[in-house]
């Protein structure tokens, strides 16, 4: 979206107008300066500091936190390489699996499918229910002692599929369960979003194509996807941003410590654990890792944005 034209003619502002603009923007601008500008500058500062437990003061330690981070990353049995891999796999899972499936499902759903409106309402439910409740019901369903899914697998003679330690405590299945949770809880919202975009495609364009003998598959690839490019782009971009922020489902389903022990940590989980749970002493390490993420992540996000804008341009209709 670009800044649009101003309806008012350019002229010298009155005192009243200046006061109005200042008053209206006072809170948002102060908030922005404090919670974005200051906080980010302080993050950089914090990453070069350390907390002295004896004096209770912060002192400058140069690149020590970055060095500690590097040692953490490269030491034997480090959880960080796996956490970084996991975080990137969330991005790939979203952009290469969830979004394409959502687009296909939304296309079919938009073709006057029986009970389509009912499906949309049901599919939307995970978007309004808190992640706490969603993760809890999900873990109950797969609980190895009482969950309906293991009971069903057992009845079907597939009990060998159930890991001895349970789905969430086994290193073989824990991360897969997190990805599966992402699909289960996220795909419905994406389907509703894309269906909304498809219904806004002008009917006459599709009709003209149909007269020219366009098959459903061709309609999907040559009309639907290009016309909803901006919506698909938005969903793909959301996938990019979760690389550095995905941790809540992991923490709620697996628990912070368990997640790392079963190889299901993420970048954000590592930072949150350092900032929130490990105490003040570990905060600078979290900040240092955060700065590294911002340095690596910003170009990734912008390159993705550029690629999306190039291959999925937004059409006005």
């Amino acid at each position: 979206m670009k800044v649009g034209k101003i309806y008012r003619k350019k002229r010298k502002k009155t005192f009243g107008e200046i006061v109005f603009i200042c008053v209206m923007l006072a809170i948002p601008v102060t908030h922005f300066c404090l919670f974005w500008v200051y906080i980010n500058i302080d993050s950089i500062r914090l990453s070069f500091q350390s907390f002295d437990m004896n004096s209770g003061a912060w002192r400058y330690v140069g690149f020590m936190n970055y060095r500690t981070f590097w040692q953490e990353l490269t030491k034997a049995e480090s959880v960080l390489p796996k956490s970084i891999l996991n975080s990137f796999s969330v991005f790939l899972w979203n952009d290469l699996v969830i979004v394409p499936i959502s687009v296909i499902c939304a296309y079919v759903l938009s073709k006057k499918l029986f009970f389509a409106s009912g499906f949309k309402v049901i599919f939307f439910l995970p978007a309004i229910i808190s992640v706490t409740v969603l993760t809890l019901v999900f873990s109950f369903m797969f609980d190895s002692t009482l969950g309906p899914v293991p009971i069903l697998l057992d009845k079907l003679g597939l009990s060998s599929w159930i890991p001895f330690e349970g789905f969430f405590a086994s290193g073989k299945t824990a991360w897969g369960m997190i990805l599966f949770y992402g699909l289960w809880s996220g795909i419905g919202y994406d389907i509703v979003l894309v269906t909304g975009a498809i219904t806004r495609i002008p009917e006459d364009i599709v009709e003209a194509g149909r007269i020219d003998g366009l098959t459903s598959i061709k309609e999907f690839f040559y009309i639907t996807i290009p016309m909803i490019g901006s919506t698909i782009g938005t969903l793909l971009m959301l996938g990019t941003t979760v690389i550095f922020s995905y941790f809540l489902p992991v923490r709620l389903i697996l628990g912070g410590d368990n997640a790392n022990s079963v190889g299901a940590g993420t970048i954000a989980l590592y930072i949150v654990t350092n900032v929130r749970d490990a105490g003040t002493v570990q905060m600078p390490l979290g900040a240092a890792f955060g700065i590294i993420c911002a340095i690596i992540g910003t170009p990734i996000v912008f390159i993705c944005r550029k690629l999306i804008d190039r291959f999925l341009p937004a059409y006005e209709y």
Binding site: P28, F35, V137, P284
Partner: protein, 283 residues
Amino acid sequence: MGNRVKREKSDEIVKWVFFALFVLYAISLLYPFLWCFINSFKTKHEFIRNINGFPEKWTLINWEESLEIRANGITIAQMYLNSAFFTVGCTFLGMFSSSATAYIFSKYDFRGRRAVYTAALVIMMIPTTGSMAAMYRLYNNIGLINTYTGILITAMGGFGSGFLLLFGFYENLSWTYAEAAQIDGAGHFRIYFRIMMPMAIPALTAVGILQAIGHWNDYFTIYMYAPEKVTIAYGIQIINSLEGVNLPKVFAAMMLSIIPVLVVFACFQKVIMNNTSIGGIKG
């Protein structure tokens, strides 16, 4: 002609295959909640021996007892109050701030306007996970950890998805209304609060409902900055860890936590779904 009939038939088959998949997915979404709901009417002992059936005797004991559970010393009723306070306060402050910012940026020209607008859009994309540490330190230093004020202040930002939606709305709102009011002697504040803002009520309502649901369900902010001001979204997790041995009670508490959201969704389902679709596109 034959090809067309064949094509239509195969389209029909594909539709029914997807219909079956959608039914399965819908069941997978509804069944867990139904399972928890039904099991919340069983006693602890009955649940252990009858996990998947209907209760032999329906009891409300778990629902009654769940009202007395305490998480960090706070009952569910108090969690509801905290959630309601944060939801109303954060939504109101957030909307007020976003609306003011969107109105000024869409209707007034001033130096730096374009730069700030572009910066606001660009910074939304920069990953700022690392800023959690500095934010925590700031809250700690100025005594905002575990305070209502701290959480309300967090929500007062004027930029974000709400800003983008309202910017689009105000941009399309004709300035002639304001001009007519100016001729009648109305000042800038009166034009905004008496004319333009009331006209934006449908857009504000839509954005407000979405933000309110987000605040009601917010786990992260409370977990990070105010774990003592337990809300229902945060408290359910604590209740599960405290009462995990009596799962029917946890199920009852869970159901209690989602009832308000489901009621709001039932009342404003169209508004919520339509605006989420638009929000996705604009974002």
